[in-house]
Amino acid sequence: MGVAVIGASMTKFGQRDAWLGELLSQAGEECLDDAGVTPDDVEHLYVSNMASGEFEGQTGVMNLLAHDLGLMPAYSERVDQTSSSGGAGIYEAWQSVASGASDMTLLVGGEKMTHKTTGEATDIIASITHPTEYKHGVTLPSFAGMTARHYLERFDAPRESLARVAVKNHKNGVDNPNAQFQKEITVEKALESPIIADPLRLYDFCPITDGSAAMMFTTEEKAAEIADEYAVVSGISGATDTHVVHERDDPTIMGGVVQSSKDAYEMAGLGPEDLDVAELHDMFTILEFLQLEGIGVAEQGTAWELAMDGTTAKDGALPINTSGGLKSKGHPLGASGVAQGVEIYEQLVGEAGPRQVDAETALACNVGGFGNCVITTIMEAAE
């Protein structure tokens, strides 16, 4: 059964006073309105969230949301796939409709993080690494530092190319009213910012963020009946790679990205050359290069050239992260993959405002851990 997306929403990302339940409710309510759907219509509810227990001492958030939105007796479930919980939620929502189990599925992703110190939040996130790594002070930023050093030295890529990813995504974020940062930065500013995990500096990292995002899924048949504009999920897949990062044969190849995108292309009957726009998981600038190579847009060791020559800019041949990416929009763990879906949906139905590009086919790649688990989604504008 073909699956369509008929509505999307997101809250303002950033430092929010509201706690998770309130953020989820806000995005959920706005998504109901955007889709023109009443709470009675919703049969399944999925809540993408990585760590509400660790961040807030609150578990069972899907039950909280089902009640807050008046969705009872809809089926509800929380989806945790670390940083790719949002993408995994898209996969679950797609499955629920494609299988015939639900005719109307609401997906809401969210995380509340900023009430913790940077160190505390980094430690909660670091707990997703393998114990043999976690015990040695490995954090997600340290993986990024080690991978970036390896990539830059091996492929003779200039340090500036990473800064250009940050500059591009910050520039895109200026046009996103829901982005945490709506401020341009310069290459010089990025290159002179404090070192966090060398060779990476402050502006190579996404911020710690509160926020929520939501999408409404239904059958293509129903979408054609009730929606003026909608998008179709034409390809979707998830894949895993080694949990221990040092066990990978090549640290610059994200196996989960390669496999999930290959499967998603096959399902959609498309290839990388068909993409008009994409949202990639730029939790760290280096990840944008690894994913461009993983999804087949660039050969291994060459994606840095696309940041240097403007190919991935909003006015380039393949705009990447028109939303501002995790880098400037922010990264509320469980919400991020859903927010990627929101951006490509809005691009496909022509609702992206000043960020709008000409797009019929779009891809979102949501990465969990340091590539431990990945979801790739391809959506197309309905004909």
């Binding site: 160190g119 430690d123 040695h136 002070g137 490995v138 954090t139 030295e153 966090i196 995990a197």
Partner: protein, 128 residues
């Protein structure tokens, strides 16, 4: 995760390194892994045996952490590295060298050290 609680095969592995008898696990097809490991993820073999770790490895990549988590507050700045010991790669902390002098290719030995902040044991690489 509580470091105070014993961690089965992993702690036994650290004990062995402390006794200069560090080992890795290898399956019938020669795929090397660190413990704990019951099944070879590569070929699904369950026939794993212990082999002695080579005396030294080479740093394949490294980073210096200047913004630590609370558990490593007093350790920072510290160097985390992946070292290639032939059949296996290992993640650990590099000590006994100025962080700025660590390079890809630096030859290191493996030992067990203490984390400054918590006193917990950790794998330490030291230049040879």
């Amino acid at each position: 995760m509580t470091d105070a609680a014993p961690d089965g095969q992993y702690d036994a592995w650290l004990d062995a390194i402390e006794d200069d008898e560090g080992y890795y696990l290898v399956c019938a097809n020669g795929h090397g892994w660190l413990p704990p490991r019951r099944i070879c993820p590569e070929c699904r073999s369950r026939d794993l045996s212990e082999e002695l770790l080579p005396a030294s490895g080479e740093v394949t990549t490294h980073t210096t952490i200047t913004v630590p988590t609370p558990q490593f507050e007093d350790d920072a700045p510290y160097v985390t590295a992946v070292a290639d010991f032939g059949p296996v790669s290992i993640t650990g902390m590099v000590r006994g060298i100025d962080p700025e002098d660590v390079e890809i290719g630096t030859v290191v030995g493996i030992e067990v050290g203490e984390r400054v902040t918590t006193g917990d044991r950790a794998v330490v690489f030291r230049p040879r």
